[in-house]
């Protein structure tokens, strides 16, 4: 019961704020709703008993990446963008994509019912991927990807610094 309340609450919150992210004119408001959407997703992670991912989501996504976004938005003068047309005429393309994706998923669920029990409820405590378990898997089986990811971050960092410098 509680589980469901939590899930549907956060799911609704996530979808509504996601819609607002895309539709708001003001970039700062978009950013705020994106933060809400990300925190709602974090709530869904919590409902899925993925506590570590929950906190990673909060710290990294909401606390780190979004601070970066808000920071940049504030650095860039906002008055310019408020008086411009914010949407272009490709809504039909968006709608088309949405329809295609929706159809795909429906078909996938309908067909895949035999392969994967997608319609079934997710098991409650088949496995509690706690912090320790995630850590163990991350640092043993996925050691190489982990290192590659760290190099990716390093490259991104250097790239960002170089790009944001005044005189290249």
């Amino acid at each position: 019961m509680l589980d469901q309340i939590v899930f549907y609450f956060f799911a609704t919150l996530a979808v509504i704020s996601a819609v607002l992210v895309v539709t708001r004119r003001n970039v700062v408001q978009s950013a705020i709703f994106l933060i809400t959407a990300l925190l709602a997703t974090a709530g869904i992670f919590l409902q899925l008993h993925a506590e570590f991912l929950f906190i990673v989501q909060v710290i990294l996504y909401a606390g780190g990446i979004m601070v970066l976004f808000v920071f940049v938005i504030m650095l860039i003068n906002m008055d310019v963008s408020l008086h411009q047309v914010q949407f272009n005429r490709q809504w039909w393309l968006g709608l088309l994509l949405a329809l295609v994706l929706g159809a795909q998923l429906t078909v996938a669920i309908a067909v895949g019912r035999s392969g994967l029990p997608l319609g079934e409820p997710a098991p409650a405590t088949a496995l509690e991927p706690s912090t320790q378990l995630v850590g163990r898997v991350l640092f043993s089986e996925y050691m190489l990807p982990f290192e590659i990811a760290s190099i990716l971050l390093l490259v991104a960092m250097i790239g960002a610094v170089v790009m944001a410098k005044k005189k290249v």
């Binding site: 650095l75 003068n77 008055d79 310019v80």
Partner: protein, 380 residues
């Protein structure tokens, strides 16, 4: 966006704001502009690339008032210029008029003037230290400084009944005889005062943050300081040994031994060190002076109605903030024809733009503080 044009007297070549330039208006209502100074800063991020000081918010037309007052009536007005060093202002004016009259105050009056002026210098520097430290973020020295300053103000109050705008001196000498405990009070203040100065220095001088905030900030080389006609601790910190007390002795300064502290780099830190050392020297002067205050009259022969002969005079003294000059033109009547005052704060403030370029916003307050301006004097 429409291109925003901001007139910059000091920076006329580029008036169009770039993508990452903003104009920050500091003051006239701002906690650390020491009154009603208004500074327009052009910032690139936090770096200052241009500035303009807007003054005049405290203009009261002191010089004009002088033309409608007699010489005696005008004397209290000068107290309201540099209101944290009223005694020094009064000394400069009284001596200038005496020079115009060709009279001189008796020795006893001059010695007492010297003592009070030096106490005032200490008080002014204490007030500067407290507020300067507060600007840089050290909250506590202010209260210690005010504690000591209070002692000096008490001496003033006992002497002439006023604490701030004292009007302590009269043209030709003094109105009040020193009260009975005067020497004792001064001694009681001066004796332990050097340990107090050491105490402040122990809070700040070798503090890493303080050194980081003041060393290399607002550098004024000796040549620049002379070119800007800076005076007082500002020019001395740049390494120029210029002190009117030594160069053109007035009052009773030729009787006493004291040093002129100078700095080397002309940065904020050096100005801080110079002022600290000046407090110690002022203390020494006071101690020397109270040892032997000559007896005699305290009022020279100047007559009841002051009517200086036609002519003009310039007289400068070393006020706590620098050279305080009075240029008085007399047309032979009881009222001055023209009084022009050279306020040290105003002249020192002219170096502000030079000192601030290339530094950060945080340094602006440090440099305003280190110039030791009093807006009452700048605007007059």
């Amino acid at each position: 966006m429409a291109e925003q044009r901001i007139p910059f007297a000091t920076h006329a070549e580029t008036t169009v704001l770039g993508a990452d330039e903003i104009v920050l208006n500091m003051g006239p209502q701002h906690p650390s502009t020491h009154g009603v100074l208004r500074v327009k800063l052009r910032l690139d991020g936090e770096k200052v690339i241009g500035s303009e000081c807007v003054i005049g918010y405290l203009h009261r037309g002191v010089e004009k008032i002088a033309e409608h007052r007699t010489y005696t009536q005008f004397a209290p007005y000068v107290d309201r210029m540099d209101y944290v060093a009223a005694v020094s202002n009064g000394l400069g004016y009284c001596e200038a008029v005496e020079k115009l009259l060709g009279a001189e105050a008796p020795l006893r009056a001059r010695v007492i003037r010297t003592i009070l002026t030096e106490l005032q210098r200490i008080a002014s520097h204490l007030f500067w230290l407290g507020t300067h430290a507060l600007d840089i973020g050290a909250l506590t020295p202010l209260f210690y400084c005010l504690r000591e300053r209070e002692e000096i103000l008490k001496i003033f109050e006992k002497y002439c009944g006023a604490r701030l705008t004292t009007h302590a001196f009269r043209i030709g000498g003094l109105q009040y005889e020193a009260y009975d405990e005067f020497e004792k009070d001064v001694e009681r203040f001066c004796k332990p005062f050097d340990t107090r100065v050491n105490e402040y220095e122990s809070l700040l001088t070798s503090n890493r943050i303080w050194v980081g905030r003041t060393k290399g900030i607002g550098i004024l080389t000796a040549k620049e300081a002379i070119d800007y006609a800076a005076s007082g601790p500002v020019i001395r910190a740049s390494g120029v040994k210029w002190d009117i007390r030594k160069a053109m002795p007035y009052a009773a300064y030729d009787l006493y031994k004291f040093e002129i502290p100078t700095g080397k780099n002309g940065d904020t830190y050096d100005r801080y060190i110079v002022r600290m050392e000046e407090m110690r020297q002022s203390r020494l002067i006071c101690l020397q002076a109270i040892e032997n205050i000559p007896t005699g009259p305290i009022m020279g022969k100047v007559g009841k109605v002051l009517k200086p002969p036609p002519g003009e005079v310039y007289h400068a003294i070393e006020a706590p903030k620098g050279e305080l000059g009075y240029y008085i033109v007399s047309d032979g009547t009881t009222q001055p024809y023209r009084v022009r005052i050279r306020p040290p704060s105003l002249i020192n403030l002219e170096a502000f733009d030079k000192m601030i370029r290339g530094h950060l916003v945080a340094d602006v307050v440090a440099i305003i503080g280190t110039l030791d301006i009093v807006l009452g004097e700048v605007d007059r």
